[in-house]
C-alpha cells in the first residue's frame, strides 16, 4: 500500500477533471472549509466532516427534473462528466449507502440515480479530524479511502471503480502493512459514545417514554430556520414547482424541503395534521430514531453532527437526545 502527500493528491484530483466533476474539501476565501472544485481553494483534507450536506453532490438544493414544451417532454440528459467526490467520513459513507437505498427503493429516483451513476466516492479517515481527533476508517463502504497516518495519506481501493483509479495517481511511498494495522486498531478503539447515546434515545422513543411537554419545550427554541433538514445528509425531502420561460417552455424543478415547516404537511383545506411546531420537532427526531427503525430496521441518523453545528438555537439531534436521556433516561 502506498501513502501520498497532500501535494501528490492535489495533482491527482486536478488530473481527474477532464473525466470527472471533481468535488474535494477546499478552504474557501473566508476560511470556510467546504466541498468545491480543486480550483476553488487549497485542498484541505484534514478537519473532519465538511459542513455541507455531503449528499448534495448527488441531490442538489434545486435542480430541473423535467422540461416541457408544446410538443415534447424531456428529462435531464446524462451528466457530461460523472461525479468524483472526496471527503466523506465513515458516517457519511454509511449515510450515502442509506440514501442510495432510499432513492432506489420502490419508485427509483432517476434524477438522483443519474448523478450517482459512474460516480466515485472517496472517504477520508485516520489522524486528520478536527482538533487532532482521529476519524473512523470507513473500510469497504466507499470506492476509495485516504487514511491519514498523521503526515501522509494511505490510499485504499475497495471496488472496481476504486481500483481503476490507482494507476492514475503518481508518486507515493510504499508503507509497511503494520502502518495500516496500527491505524485500524486505533479506529476500532475510537469511542462509540454517540452511537450508544442515539441507540438509547431511540429505545426511549420506541417505548414512548418521552412526553409531549418535552417536545413543547424543545420546540419553543426552534426558529424554523430549516437548517437541520437542509444540512442533514440523510434528509431527502423535496418540493416541486414549475417555471415558465419567455419561450413558453416549462421547467419542473425540485427544491429541498423541510419537515419543520407548516406547509410541508398542510392539506389543501389549510388544515394541518402537523400544524404545531412541537409536533414537527417531535417528528424530526422520532422519524430518524423510531419510525425509520420500523421501516428500514435501523436508526437513520448517522451522527455526523451537522444539524448540531448549524442549529442557531442548540437543538440539533445530539443536543436533543442528550437532553432527552438526561430527563427520561432512567425511566
Amino acid at each position: 500500500m502506498k501513502a501520498y502527500s497532500v501535494q501528490e493528491l492535489d495533482s491527482f484530483f486536478k488530473s481527474l477533471e477532464s473525466h470527472y466533476d471533481v468535488c474535494v474539501p477546499v478552504r474557501r476565501r473566508d476560511g470556510t472549509r467546504a466541498l468545491g472544485a480543486p480550483a476553488d481553494g487549497p485542498l484541505t483534507l484534514a478537519g473532519g466532516p465538511v459542513p455541507n450536506k455531503i449528499t448534495s453532490v448527488f441531490f442538489p438544493q434545486m435542480e430541473v427534473v423535467l422540461t416541457a414544451s408544446s410538443d415534447r417532454l424531456a428529462t435531464p440528459s446524462p451528466l457530461a462528466r460523472p461525479v468524483f467526490v472526496v471527503g466523506l467520513t465513515a458516517q457519511d459513507a454509511d449515510c450515502l449507502e442509506f440514501i442510495d437505498r432510499f432513492f432506489a427503493t420502490g419508485f427509483p429516483d432517476s434524477v438522483y440515480l443519474r448523478r450517482r451513476q459512474d460516480s466515485v466516492v472517496m472517504c477520508v479517515s485516520g489522524r486528520c479530524g478536527a482538533d487532532g481527533q482521529s476519524l473512523k476508517i470507513a473500510g469497504g463502504k466507499c470506492d476509495l479511502e485516504l487514511i491519514c497516518d498523521g503526515d501522509k495519506y494511505l490510499l485504499a481501493a475497495y471496488t472496481d471503480a476504486g481500483n481503476a483509479q490507482l494507476d492514475k495517481i503518481h508518486g507515493g511511498t510504499e508503507t509497511p502493512a503494520a502502518s495500516l494495522a496500527d491505524l485500524e486498531k486505533e479506529s476500532n478503539a475510537l469511542p462509540n459514545e454517540d452511537f450508544e447515546m442515539i441507540q438509547a434515545a431511540s429505545a426511549l422513543l420506541l417505548k414512548n417514554k418521552v412526553p409531549d411537554e418535552f417536545w413543547q419545550k424543545v420546540s419553543d427554541r426552534c426558529i424554523a430556520c430549516t437548517s437541520c433538514n437542509l444540512a442533514c445528509p440523510s434528509c431527502t425531502c423535496f418540493d416541486m414547482f414549475d417555471r415558465e420561460g419567455a419561450d413558453g417552455e416549462v421547467e419542473r424543478w425540485r427544491l429541498w424541503d423541510s419537515c419543520q415547516l407548516d406547509g410541508f404537511m398542510r392539506e389543501a383545506s389549510g388544515h394541518n395534521p402537523m400544524g404545531k411546531q412541537e409536533v414537527r420537532t417531535r417528528r424530526r427526531i422520532h422519524h430518524r430514531l423510531a419510525a425509520d427503525v420500523s421501516k428500514w430496521g435501523h436508526v437513520t441518523c448517522y451522527l455526523c453532527g451537522r444539524c448540531d453545528e448549524v442549529c442557531p438555537s442548540g437543538i440539533g439531534m445530539k443536543s436533543v437526545c442528550r437532553e432527552m436521556l438526561q430527563q427520561y433516561g432512567s425511566a
Binding site: 466533476d21 474557501r28 476565501r29 473566508d30 476560511g31 470556510t32 472549509r33 467546504a34 468545491g36 472544485a37 476553488d40 459542513p51 455541507n52 448534495s56 442538489p60 438544493q61 434545486m62 435542480e63 419553543d220 427554541r221 426558529i223 424554523a224 430556520c225 430549516t226 437548517s227 437542509l230 444540512a231 418540493d239 414547482f241 417555471r243 415558465e244 420561460g245 419567455a246 427544491l255 429541498w256 424541503d257 423541510s258 415547516l261 407548516d262 406547509g263 389549510g270 453545528e309 448549524v310 442549529c311 442557531p312 438555537s313 442548540g314
Partner: protein
C-alpha cells in the same frame, strides 16, 4: 458549479453565505459560511431561500416607457434620455425641488451614494430619502441627539455577553433570527435575564423572566416609570451619571411625574411589573436594550428612542461589552443607506446639508457649485407634497411606496398626481403600475458592492451571475444618467472606485476599502487605513462628548380606539416574508408558508365576535376596509389586531394612518383604530 461569497439581501443582521451557481449560469442554492463572525455557519429560512427569486420569470428584463397609457418595451437610450429631459423640463418650470428621489435600503452603499450624488450634484435638490424614514428615522434622530451617533452602540456578539436583555418592540427570532437565537442561547446556556416588553406573545416570551404586555404606544410612560423606580430606590449608576452625562436634573424632574402606579395605569399593566422590570434591569452588571419598529414607528418614536437611551445612561450600560442601546435595522443595507447620505438632511457620514462648510466640502469634492442648503422632502413628506400637487416628478429606485407607505389611498392619489414617475426595480410592483418609465435593475446576486449591517459592519456583495435580460446594476444606471445630464464627475470603472470616493468624503468610512472588507468586513467608525474598526461605540466618551439625558413626556398615539373602531391595529412583518413581498412572495418555500393575507386576533375577541380560525373577515379603519383571513392566536392580546404588510391582495397599508413623528417624520404604523366584522 461554482460558489460566490456574498451578504444576505434580507434583514440587517448581515449574515454572509455562498451563492451556488449552476453550470447554466443560474442560481441553484446557498451554502453557509462557517467562518463568518455573525453567521458562523448558520442561516435562517430566508437566508436558505435568498437565491430563489433571482431567476424568477417575473424579473424586469428591459426598460419600459408608458405610451398611450400602456408600458411598452423601449431601449435604454430612449428611456434614460426621456428621464433626463423630463426631469430637466419639470425642474425648469417648477423649480429644482419639484423633483424627488427615493433611494433604497436594498441597494448597495455605492448605489445609494450615487443616487444621493445624482440628486444633489446633478439635479440640485436635497429631496433624497429612503425607507429608513419608515423604520428607524426616529433612531437616527433620537440616538444622534442623546449620544451623538445614531446607530447600534454594540455588536451582535454582545448579545451573548449580556446579563440582562430588555427586548422591546422587536420580534427578534422572526425578524433577526440569528440575533434572536443568540438571545435564546444566552438565556438557556448562561442564565441571562430576559425582559420582553411587547404585547404580542412572541417566541421570546416563552423564555422571558418578565413578559410585559403593555398597551401599544405607552412606551414612554413605561420607560419613565422604570426610571422613576430606579431613582427612587437609588439603583442608578451614580458615577456614570456624574461623569459621562448631562441634563440629569431635568430627567429626574420629568420621571418624577411617573410613579409606578401612574405609569402602570397608562400602560395597562401592574405597578409591580414596572418595579420588577426596574430592579431586574438596574440590578444587572451588563444590561442591554434591543429594540426595533415597536419603539420607532410611532408619532412619538423619537421620544421612545430617547427614553431607551435615558434608561441605559441612567444605569451606566454603555461603552462596555454586553450593554448598550441596540436598535436592530430591518433591511440588509438600511444602515448603509443612511451612512452614505440617502437622507433629506445629511450628506455621507451625517454631515448636515445646512452646514455651509459641509456644502463647500462636497462642492469641492464633486466639482459643482451651489449645492442646495435647505433640508429636503422625506419619503413621507414627499408623498404628501405629491398629493398636494407640489411635487411633480419622482424617481423611485428599489422602493414600493404603494405597499410600504401609510394610507394607500393617499399614496395612490400622490402617484396619480405626478407628472412623471420613474420606477427602477427588479420586479414589477404596485408602484410601477403608475410609472411613466420603468428601468430593470440587477439583483444583489448580479453586482458588486457593499452593504452595512445593523452592527455597522461594512461587508462585500459580490457578483455571482450576469444580470438577467438587459437589466443593469443600479450604480451603472445612475452613472449613465449623470453623463446624459451633462455631469462628468460620476464615471467609475468599478464599485470599488465608488467606495474610494465615499471614504474620501466620509470620516467614519475613511478607512474602508474593498480590499480591507474582503473577508469579514469592518465596523465603522473606521477612520484611517490602519483603523481596525469599532465594535463598541462610546467607550470612555460619547460621540458628542457627554451623553445628553433627553426626557420626554408621555403622549398618546394619534388615533386611539373608540366605540366605532374599538380595536388597536398594529402592522409589521411575518417570519417568512419581507417587506412588500416582491422577493419572498416569488420564493417558492417562503410563499408556500404564508400564502394568504391574515390578521391576528385574540381567542377572546374571536369568541366574542363568533370568528373562527382561518375564516375570512373584514378589517376596516377610517382609511379603508379589506378582507383577509383571521388567525385566532394567543400571540394577540385582547383588543389588539396585528397584520403583516406583505400582501398586495389585502394591503395592510390601506388601513394605516398617515400620522408622523413631528421630528423624524416616521409614520405611526403600530397604532391606529380599527374594527372587524365577519365576511359572511
Amino acid at each position: 458549479m461554482k460558489t460566490v461569497l456574498t451578504t444576505c439581501p434580507y434583514c440587517g443582521t448581515g449574515c454572509c453565505f455562498y451563492l451556488v451557481v449552476a453550470d447554466d449560469g443560474r442560481l441553484a442554492g446557498v451554502e453557509p459560511s462557517r467562518e463568518h463572525p455573525v453567521a458562523a455557519g448558520r442561516m435562517c429560512v430566508k437566508g436558505w431561500n435568498a437565491f430563489h427569486f433571482v431567476n424568477h420569470p417575473d424579473r424586469l428584463t428591459q426598460p419600459l416607457i408608458r405610451k398611450n397609457g400602456k408600458l411598452e418595451p423601449a431601449s435604454w437610450d430612449e428611456a434614460l434620455d426621456l428621464i433626463v429631459s423630463k426631469l430637466g423640463s419639470i425642474q425648469a418650470e417648477h423649480g429644482n425641488d419639484a423633483a424627488a428621489f427615493f433611494a433604497s435600503a436594498k441597494m448597495t452603499n455605492e448605489e445609494n451614494y450615487l443616487m444621493m450624488k445624482l440628486a444633489r450634484a446633478v439635479f440640485k435638490t436635497n429631496n433624497i430619502d429612503h425607507c429608513a424614514r419608515l423604520c428607524h428615522s426616529s433612531t437616527v434622530v433620537g440616538l444622534a441627539g442623546t449620544f451623538g451617533s445614531g446607530a447600534m452602540t454594540n455588536s451582535i456578539s454582545c448579545v451573548e455577553e449580556a446579563d440582562c436583555i430588555l427586548v422591546t418592540g422587536s420580534n427578534t427570532t422572526e425578524q433577526h433570527p440569528l440575533i434572536g437565537s443568540r438571545i435564546i442561547r444566552n438565556v438557556i446556556e448562561n442564565g441571562a435575564k430576559l425582559i420582553v416588553a411587547d404585547n404580542r406573545k412572541i417566541r421570546l416570551a416563552a423564555f422571558a423572566d418578565l413578559h410585559i404586555r403593555w398597551k401599544n404606544g405607552t412606551d414612554v410612560a413605561f420607560l419613565n416609570g422604570i426610571m422613576n423606580v430606579i431613582i427612587a430606590e437609588g439603583l442608578e449608576d451614580k458615577e456614570f451619571v456624574a461623569t459621562r452625562t448631562e441634563n440629569y436634573e431635568e430627567l429626574k424632574k420629568v420621571v418624577a411625574g411617573y410613579p409606578p402606579e401612574k405609569a402602570a395605569e397608562i400602560c395597562g399593566i401592574t405597578a409591580q411589573e414596572i418595579i420588577d422590570t426596574a430592579r431586574m434591569f438596574a440590578g444587572a452588571h451588563k444590561a442591554m436594550i434591543i429594540y426595533s419598529m415597536g419603539i420607532t414607528q410611532h408619532t412619538h418614536g423619537v421620544d421612545n428612542v430617547k427614553s431607551c437611551a435615558n434608561l441605559v445612561m441612567l444605569t451606566g450600560n454603555l461603552g462596555r461589552p454586553g450593554t448598550g442601546v441596540n436598535p436592530l435595522r430591518g433591511q440588509n443595507n438600511v444602515q448603509g443607506a443612511c451612512d452614505v447620505g440617502a437622507l433629506a438632511n445629511v450628506y455621507t457620514g451625517y454631515q448636515s446639508v445646512t452646514d455651509a462648510a459641509a456644502r463647500a466640502k462636497f462642492e469641492k469634492a464633486w466639482g459643482v457649485e451651489n449645492l442646495p442648503g435647505n433640508v429636503g422632502l422625506t419619503i413621507t413628506t414627499a408623498i404628501n407634497a405629491a398629493a398636494d400637487g407640489k411635487l411633480k416628478a419622482l424617481y423611485v429606485a428599489g422602493e414600493n411606496p404603494m405597499m410600504s407607505d401609510p394610507d394607500q389611498n393617499h399614496v395612490r392619489k400622490a402617484l396619480e398626481n405626478l407628472e412623471f414617475l420613474v420606477v427602477q426595480d427588479i420586479f414589477p410592483t404596485p408602484t410601477s403600475e403608475f410609472a411613466h418609465v420603468v428601468l430593470p435593475a440587477a439583483s444583489f446576486a448580479e453586482k458588486d458592492g457593499t452593504f452595512t449591517s445593523t452592527e455597522r459592519r461594512v461587508q462585500r456583495v459580490r457578483k455571482a451571475i450576469e444580470p438577467v435580460g438587459q437589466s443593469r446594476a443600479d450604480w451603472e444606471i445612475f452613472c449613465d444618467l449623470a453623463k446624459r445630464a451633462g455631469y462628468s464627475g460620476m464615471q467609475y470603472g468599478s464599485a470599488s472606485e465608488i467606495m474610494e470616493e465615499i471614504a474620501s468624503v466620509t470620516p467614519i468610512y475613511g478607512g474602508i476599502t474593498f480590499e480591507r472588507v474582503d473577508e469579514v468586513g469592518l465596523q465603522w467608525p473606521c477612520r484611517t487605513k490602519d483603523d481596525p474598526g469599532t465594535p463598541i461605540l462610546h467607550i470612555g466618551k460619547f460621540s458628542r462628548g457627554l451623553g445628553l439625558f433627553s426626557p420626554a413626556e408621555y403622549k398618546p398615539s394619534a388615533e386611539l380606539p373608540d366605540s366605532e373602531y374599538p380595536f388597536v391595529l398594529s402592522t409589521g412583518r411575518c417570519y417568512f416574508h419581507f417587506h412588500t413581498g416582491t422577493m419572498t412572495r416569488r420564493s417558492r418555500t417562503l410563499n408556500r408558508e404564508e400564502r394568504f393575507p391574515y390578521v391576528e386576533i385574540s381567542p377572546e375577541d374571536a369568541k366574542e365576535l363568533g370568528i373562527r380560525d382561518r375564516e375570512q373577515i373584514h378589517v376596516g379603519t377610517r382609511r379603508g376596509e379589506l378582507q383577509c383571513m383571521a388567525r385566532v392566536t394567543d400571540v394577540a392580546k385582547k383588543g389588539v389586531l396585528f397584520m403583516p404588510f406583505h400582501f398586495d391582495e389585502a394591503p395592510a397599508n390601506l388601513l394605516t394612518i398617515n400620522a408622523l413623528d413631528p421630528v423624524a417624520k416616521i409614520p405611526e404604523y403600530k397604532v391606529c383604530a380599527a374594527r372587524i366584522r365577519r365576511s359572511s
